[in-house]
């Protein structure tokens, strides 16, 4: 056995605190026939050095002490393959994230690097060659969420020729962007650019659009997911409804207008908004007399198409997909509980920015005339408050919403355009305007549209003689300020879509404490999740504007297309295997396996033994521990390897 040890300096990232020469001196260990340090191992010359050493020194196994294997394991597996080794004959040791970056003392870091490297050597000594197999994939993609990100991803994938199922839980696709009036920094009309795409998605022959639907359960794994989709009963037969809205007109029951973010009212049966896709009515039972009092039936009577069916039930269908794109977006943070000083939702003229979008929008409840909710008056003094439920640790929301500064500037501009005599005031802490043309845009709001920006967080809002008194500070002048406002608009922070965490658990992907879904690597794998075959698009991953959402959606689409383009997938060979001759047939392993990957086979002598189905096994190793005679073993993480690694440290 001939082992080679390569210690990476990572420029100064490692070399500054780890004496890499000393670490490479693990070269004196048993079976080590070559050791060297490399400045940047992952670079081309770095990889070449490894390949050359393998060839020249006839190495059969390799240990690379460098960054996290989560970063470059695949890179180096490929490199050693090029040199003719089995890819699994390489093992990585993490002396950067777990060593040089967390220790400042050279002796400590070097000592630890030496230990970790020797442990790697001990481990690789027990490594066996592993071989992966190929499985066919399902050529169909599931897109969850029909906002601008989901629509973009679906269109890109469908245009590449792959069939797509789009599952949207609301009654229409379009998401939050459909609610916006104009969009920064170009001020083009949101629905003018979005509606054509919504229609295109609906008409695309490769896209199967399912509204009022949610994902129930997910089984299987990359290449072959099996998903139960629940289509919720809306009492309207989608195929029959023409969207004529006569039912909505005649319905006697009022209901909150969700599309208009709660400004204005709707009916128990309604078409969500005039540009909705699909343009179909839906009935909300919790507001409908037919269901509350057991009597009404007006909509059924007036519907000429016979589209109403009060007996309709949820439908669950099961479909198979090769990849999944999650694009469940965001919701404005519900600020009311956390900001009693801003009235906690009790003052009608303190509204959120999203509600204000609806007041600005020509298709909104006021027909695009800005009128304040309390008395329908046109406001003259409008105060915008940024970071409500953002950058505020005291309410558990320390992060930046990343779009607030921009849409406040937009809304200040639009306010002036709607009401030339108006004056806008903007309370901000910092103006975050990092995108292309963004800074110029916020400057324009001030310079050309006369919005007065005050740097400070507002302390309190209270009503006084039909106005709202806003008590704040301008920290730049050091003065307390008080503004008499007609309307106050709060830039409520970004929150993940309701139930995002629950969906993530169904999909077995991770999410952060705010239920934003986690990407696999913040820079290098920003659309992948830690679960193969599941990708992220848009604001579900974190606060994002439209350009960012769309870009990520196209990236996710590209990933999904790339994954499925080969028609088959290589499975990981790091799966469990049973030594059948010694298996007693107790099936403790089968009891614990989370993936039903263990089946019973009859041995030649007639007794039952366990066998692992490679394509189902995920390699968790739970069975490995459960087996009484210890005859089922996880390849790549065998007992022998783990013991060797442990004992090496304690030597």
């Amino acid at each position: 056995m001939r082992i080679g040890v390569f210690v990476c300096q990572c420029g100064t990232n490692i070399a500054a605190t780890v004496d890499t020469e000393k670490a490479a001196a693990a070269g004196s260990l048993r079976d080590v026939h070559h050791a060297e340090t490399i400045q940047y191992t992952c670079s081309d010359p770095g990889q070449r050095a490894i390949i050359d050493a393998i060839r020249e020194k006839e190495l059969t196994r390799v240990v690379i002490a460098a960054c996290s294997p989560r970063m470059h394991e695949t890179t180096f597996r490929r490199a050693v393959t090029r040199a003719g080794l089995n890819p699994f004959m390489m093992d990585m040791v993490n002396i950067r994230e777990h060593c040089s970056w967390v220790h400042s003392d050279v002796d400590t870091a070097t000592g630890k690097a030496i230990d970790l490297t020797s442990m790697g050597v001990a481990r690789v000594r027990k490594q066996a060659s592993l071989f992966s197999s190929k499985v066919p994939v399902t050529n169909r993609v599931l897109v969850i969420g029909g906002g601008v990100a989901g629509i973009q991803a679906a269109l890109d994938i469908a245009d590449a020729g792959l069939p797509v199922t789009m599952v949207e839980r609301g009654p229409s696709i379009g998401g939050n962007m459909a609610r916006l009036d104009k969009t920064f920094p170009t001020l083009d009309c949101s629905s003018c650019i979005l509606t054509p795409r919504m229609v295109e998605a609906n008409q695309h022959e490769q896209i199967d659009l399912m509204v009022n639907s949610e994902v129930d359960t997910v089984r299987g794994h990359v290449g072959n997911f099996e998903v139960d989709i629940r289509k919720k009963a809306t009492c309207v037969i989608e195929e029959k409804c023409t969207g004529c809205m006569i039912c909505q007109e005649k319905c006697p029951s009022r209901a909150p207008d969700e599309f208009n973010a709660g400004v204005g009212e709707s009916k128990a049966i309604s078409v969500p908004f005039p540009q909705a896709v699909p343009l179909v009515a839906n009935l909300r039972k919790e507001h409908c007399r037919q269901f509350i009092r057991g009597k009404c039936g007006v909509c059924k009577k007036v519907c000429k198409s016979g589209a109403i069916d009060y007996e309709q039930e949820d439908e669950v269908t099961t479909e198979r997909f090769g990849a999944i794109v999650v694009a469940t977006g965001y919701e404005p943070y519900d600020w009311r509980e956390a900001y009693p000083d801003y009235g906690g939702g009790q003052y009608p003229d303190v509204i959120t920015s999203l509600q204000y979008e609806r007041l600005l929008s020509a298709s909104g409840p006021t027909g695009g005339h800005v009128r304040r909710p309390s008395d329908g008056e046109e406001p003259r003094q409008v105060v915008f408050i940024s970071c409500v439920g953002s950058r505020d640790e005291s309410v558990g929301r320390p992060f930046c919403c990343s779009v607030g500064c921009m849409y406040i500037a937009k809304q200040a501009i639009l306010t002036k355009e709607h009401i030339p005599e108006s004056q806008s005031y903007v309370f901000y802490i910092d103006i975050r305007a990092g995108g292309k043309g963004y800074e110029e845009f916020t400057r324009r709001a001030q310079k050309e549209y006369g919005a007065v920006y005050l740097r400070g967080r507002v302390g309190k809002i209270y009503p006084s003689k039909g106005k709202l008194m806003v008590m704040g500070t301008d920290t730049l002048s050091g003065e307390q300020v008080e503004i008499e406002a007609d309307l106050v608009v709060l830039a409520a922070g970004f929150a993940a879509a309701e139930g995002a965490g629950e969906l993530a658990r169904k999909l077995n992907i991770s999410y952060d404490q705010y239920e934003f879904l986690s990407e696999s690597h913040p820079k290098l794998r920003p659309v992948e999740t830690n679960t193969g075959g599941i990708f992220l698009a848009g604001a579900c991953q974190g606060p994002k504007d439209i350009p960012g959402s769309v870009a990520q959606a196209s990236a996710a689409a590209a990933k999904a297309i790339g994954l499925l383009s080969k028609g088959e997938l290589e499975t990981s060979p790091m799966v469990a295997a049973v030594n059948q001759t010694r298996c007693t047939g107790c099936f403790k392993c089968r009891d614990v396996c989370p993936y039903n990957a263990i089946e019973a086979v009859e041995a030649r002598d007639g007794h039952q033994t366990a066998r692992v189905v490679d394509s189902l096994c995920h390699g968790c190793g739970v069975c490995n521990v459960a087996c009484p005679p210890a005859v089922i073993s996880l390849k790549g993480y065998t007992d022998n390897q783990l013991i060797a690694e442990t004992l090496e440290l304690l030597r």
Binding site: S394, I429, R457, V458, G459, T475
Partner: protein
């Protein structure tokens, strides 16, 4: 620190560290949002509003802070603390500034009356074990050379039997004296007033 400081008492950084230790707060946690100032009912009378006190401390400008009227005028109502988005106990920070100013014998002339009030109050408690409000009121007014301050309300107070004429006294005054003696003997300001019981 690259910023020039004109501290007269001691090196600014050391004092800031002391303020941080006593209060259990990190001044660097403040991101100058100004919400403390927005909520402060007294800031109009301060020379530096609370967010600027935090800023000056961040810059190590301790002399300005220690000599500020703010430190004397802040009445520790904790409105700012309860509103700070960074959960900084701003009032506590200012409180520690005030105590350090006291320990250094800094007298902010304009705000003499507040010191007078505190002294009078404690003297009163020390002597009787309880507070005699009428006496406190008149004593302060005389000392601060504003004899007519509040005098207009006095007859009203008396008419409504709001004030005892005879000072209230407690029986076991020796215990009270022992308490005063003990805290005086220990030299007072030992930084034990961290109301979070030892910082965060």
């Amino acid at each position: 620190m690259a910023i020039r400081v004109s501290t007269t008492i001691a090196d600014g950084a050391a004092l800031v560290a002391d303020i941080e230790r006593r209060s259990g707060e990190r001044v660097s946690a403040c991101y100058q949002c100004g919400r403390c100032t927005s909520t402060c009912a007294a800031a109009f009378a301060f020379d530096y509003p609370p967010h600027r006190i935090m800023r000056l401390l961040q810059l190590g400008q301790v002399d300005k802070v220690l000599n500020s009227r703010t430190a004397q005028l802040c009445f520790d109502c904790m409105t700012c603390s309860s509103r700070c988005p960074m959960t900084i106990d701003v009032a506590n920070v200012i409180e520690q500034v005030k105590m350090i100013a006291d320990e250094h014998g800094i007298r902010v002339n304009k705000e003499k009356s507040i010191r007078l009030f505190r002294r009078a109050f404690l003297k009163n408690v020390r002597r009787h074990g309880r507070l005699h409000e009428a006496r406190l009121l008149t004593w302060i007014n005389l000392r601060s050379f504003k004899p007519f301050n509040d005098l207009a309300v006095v007859p009203l107070i008396l008419r409504r039997k709001k004030v005892h004429i005879v000072p209230p006294k407690i029986r076991n005054r020796r215990e009270i004296h022992r308490i005063f003696h003990e805290v005086n003997g220990n030299g007072g300001g030992n930084g034990n007033s961290d109301r979070h019981g030892g910082g965060k």
